[in-house]
């Protein structure tokens, strides 16, 4: 047995040194200025026109989707929605830096990531309407997306649970010898959960190739960041876990893209976690159930609206001569139409047949679930009007 020495890294001092806030200053990577011009001393990541436009168009897509779905919720067509507005650069920019083989484990505000992976409007609508075409079979509330073929893990509402899970997933990828990593998204609020601590510490100790991507958007529902933590954001915790950490301007898609590319490279090459803290702002209400006027000022929101990540990237693209304003307008218009059309079409798709209620609890339904289903079907058949969503398609065979 080799001797262990947990003091080997420690230096001795003879007067008490208090380690405290301000001791290190964690800078925030920003490549594009507010007007879209690169900072003079900044080196932009290599990016071709096609990728840049795909990123831009995805941002626009998500912005439009959010607007439409909030409207649909107001009209009572869907029960719930939760917007990404203001955080498109964080979600799309990080997605663009990944490979399709990488697993995405997200919190719930990352539809930009999902759209970039190729989730279609029809898929979004199916999920939002909880219908039978939805692979998750309509079992969860709107916005709990999941798509196995896109390596996008089905979202779960309990906050923070995906963090240690991502460490485990990444460990499995490593053990299976895959050239792939896991990215795990979460908010600065969720980072207060015990699971955050467990997940980051385990990833560091067990050398898991995972990117922890924290969207620090200033709020957890009504709770401002200053009532969430007293340290220097989430980035300052990385040091405590011995995790390489990058803080980035979450409204600067070029910075997010560059940081995530670098993080992915490190995670794969060194088999280790990397923490990214993206500083951004939740421009929308927390969700359609929330009204932010109860806890923050319009003024504050306005200041952030001026930092709109889409506008900043648009300016840069214009400077490259890559953005055709007419095409952009057309794309936005077309997305609006597409969302509307799909929404109208999809809201007529029925929910799953009642037989699905007992599927996927176990790999196959045990006898007691079969019995419960039999009784339920008999009951629905007796009172078809009371269960209109399913009674029309009862198969008592």
């Amino acid at each position: 047995m080799k001797d262990r020495n947990h003091l080997s890294r420690v230096n001795v001092s003879h007067s008490a040194t208090i380690i405290e806030n301000g001791l290190i200053d964690i800078p925030m990577l920003q490549l594009l200025q507010a007007d879209g011009t690169p900072h003079k001393d900044a080196t932009l990541p290599d990016i071709d026109k096609e990728t840049a436009l795909k990123m831009y168009n995805t941002m626009q897509y998500v912005r439009v989707l959010d607007e439409r779905m909030i409207a649909a919720q107001r009209q009572g067509r869907i029960s719930f929605y939760l917007a990404c507005t203001g955080e498109e650069a964080s979600t799309v920019g990080s997605a663009a830096a990944l490979q399709d083989v990488d697993m995405i484990m997200s919190q719930y505000r990352e539809q930009g990531t999902l759209a970039y992976r190729g989730y279609t409007t029809e898929q979004f609508m199916n999920q939002m309407f909880s219908n039978e075409k939805e692979p998750n079979k309509g079992r969860q509330m709107p916005i709990h997306y999941g798509a196995k073929e896109l390596n996008f893990m089905t979202i779960s509402s309990p906050l923070g649970t995906q963090i240690p899970q991502a460490s485990g997933y990444a460990y499995g990828q490593k053990m299976a010898g895959q050239e792939a990593i896991t990215i795990c998204y979460f908010g600065e609020g969720a980072a207060s959960e015990g699971d955050f601590h467990a997940g980051l510490n385990m990833a560091a100790v067990l050398n898991c190739p995972v990117i922890f991507f924290c969207r620090n958007n200033g709020y957890a529902i009504s709770t401002p960041a200053e009532e969430q933590f007293a340290g220097d954001g989430i980035a300052s915790r990385g040091l405590g876990y011995g995790i390489k950490t990058i803080r980035v301007d979450g409204n600067d898609i070029m910075a997010v893209y560059a940081a995530t590319q670098q993080a992915r490279k490190i995670a794969l090459a060194e088999n280790c976690p990397v923490l990214i803290e993206a500083m951004t702002y939740r421009l929308a209400a927390h969700s359609t159930s929330d009204d932010p006027t109860g806890y923050r000022s319009k003024d504050e929101e306005e200041k952030w609206r001026e930092k709109d990540p889409i506008r900043r990237f648009a300016s840069w693209l214009q400077q490259q001569g890559w953005l055709d304003e007419a095409a952009d307008q057309a794309h936005v218009e077309q997305t609006r139409q597409e969302v509307l059309t799909e929404l109208k079409r999809v809201e007529k798709v029925p929910v799953c047949v009642i037989d699905e209620i007992i599927e996927d609890v176990y790999d196959t339904p045990p006898w007691h679930l079969q019995e419960q289903l039999r009784e339920l079907k008999a009951h629905i058949s007796k009172y078809p009007d009371a269960y209109p969503k399913t009674s029309g398609r009862i198969n008592n065979g």
Binding site: S79, F80, S130, N131, K137, G138, R139, Q140, M141, H144, S156, S157, P158, L159, G160, G189, A190, S192, E193, G194, D195, A220, I221, S222, T223, E227, Q228, F229, S289, D290, G294, Y295, V351, C352, I354, E356, I357, I358, V361, H368, L369, Q372, L376, H379, I380, K382, Y383, A386, Y387, K389, T390
Partner: protein, 325 residues
């Protein structure tokens, strides 16, 4: 008396308790300035200051750990868990700490002053993680009390009693009644007893037992049954732990039949405890098997919520099966 909905009754009870005893402190996620996502703690911070009503960081295990320490110090914490579905990260603090604190210290220390409030239950299109009814998970834990009101009047009286009871209480609020249930609530201070069921209406053919939001369901089913000439005795259990075996058994001795309804899945739900106890104590009086009308043994599904629920129709059918056994 004033007309209040269930949320207003809760808010009123909190104001009453905080006015009465300055050791009372209310905290949890978003409960401070904003007054909670359901607004149950509205205006408390304004009225009583940030020291006594405050936001916590987003950590349920931390909220209850903190509350346990605060209670053991002699303060009177009323901690909110935003949804019953999110109480599980605090399971260890509740089951291993809160509940055992007094026993393990031989009564030297305790968390007796602690009250944990949490909304529970379905029927609001909340799916998997905004619909669960976790009472049975806690009912296996000596040292805890579990209390569930069915309307605003009960809510105020039971919450005040819970806060002042010298035992830790898990106070579960049926969230689909938050705004739907409206009734007269005395403006003055009053308490309703813990550990006591309430016979809501008398009957002779079968006893129907439920708690919280399901009370409406069994009342509706009882009405339907009455049209068939079946007379139902309706009991609101109100306290899940310790529960009122005496009242329930007295009723079953009289009616000879028992139906229990709860939203949580059947297997291992609290109806099983009631059935097990009642069959033992009322064996010779039972004229038909004790029947449980409960949620299915699946997670709580969104699209099939209506089908999943142990509603009045399922209850009505079960009443008939019981009576015609």
């Amino acid at each position: 008396m004033a007309k209040m909905n269930l949320l207003q009754a809760i808010n009123n009870a909190l104001i009453t308790a905080m006015t009465d005893d300055e050791r009372v402190m209310v905290f949890g996620e978003d409960v401070g300035h904003f007054g909670g996502v359901f607004r149950a703690t509205s205006n408390l911070q304004e009225k009583f200051g940030r020291g006594r009503c405050f936001n916590t960081p987003l950590t349920e295990q931390g909220i209850i750990g903190f509350a346990n320490g605060l209670a053991s110090q002699g303060s009177v914490p009323v901690a909110e868990i935003q949804f019953g579905d999110y109480i599980f990260p605090a399971f260890d603090q509740i089951v291993n700490e809160t509940a055992k604190w007094r026993y393990r210290s031989g009564g030297q220390f305790s968390c007796g002053t602690l009250t944990i409030r949490t909304p529970y239950g379905g029927g609001i299109a909340g799916g998997h993680y905004h619909s669960q009814s976790p009472e049975a998970y806690f009912a296996h834990t000596p040292g805890l009390k579990i209390v569930i009101p069915r309307n605003p009047y009960q809510a105020k009286g039971l919450l005040l009693a819970s806060i002042r009871d010298d035992n830790p209480v898990l106070f579960m609020e049926p969230k689909r009644l938050y705004r739907a249930s409206v009734g007269e609530v005395p403006e003055e201070d009053y308490e309703l007893p813990l550990g006591k069921a309430e016979v809501v209406s008398e009957g002779s053919d079968i006893t129907l037992l439920a708690w919280g939001a399901q009370m409406e369901i069994i009342e509706k089913a009882a009405e339907m049954a009455q049209n068939d000439g079946i007379s139902c005795e309706i009991i609101d259990l109100r306290s899940i732990l310790p529960w009122d075996v005496e009242t329930v058994c007295a009723s079953v001795m009289k009616t000879g039949r028992l139906l229990i309804n709860h939203e949580a899945p059947l297997t291992g739900g609290f109806a099983s405890e009631v059935a097990a106890t009642v069959q033992e104590r009322c064996f010779l009086h039972l004229e038909s098997p004790i029947t449980r009308v409960c949620g299915l043994d699946t997670p709580y599904p969104l699209a099939h919520e209506k089908e999943y629920m142990p509603d009045h129709l399922k209850t009505y059918e079960a009443i008939k099966r019981c009576v015609n056994f």
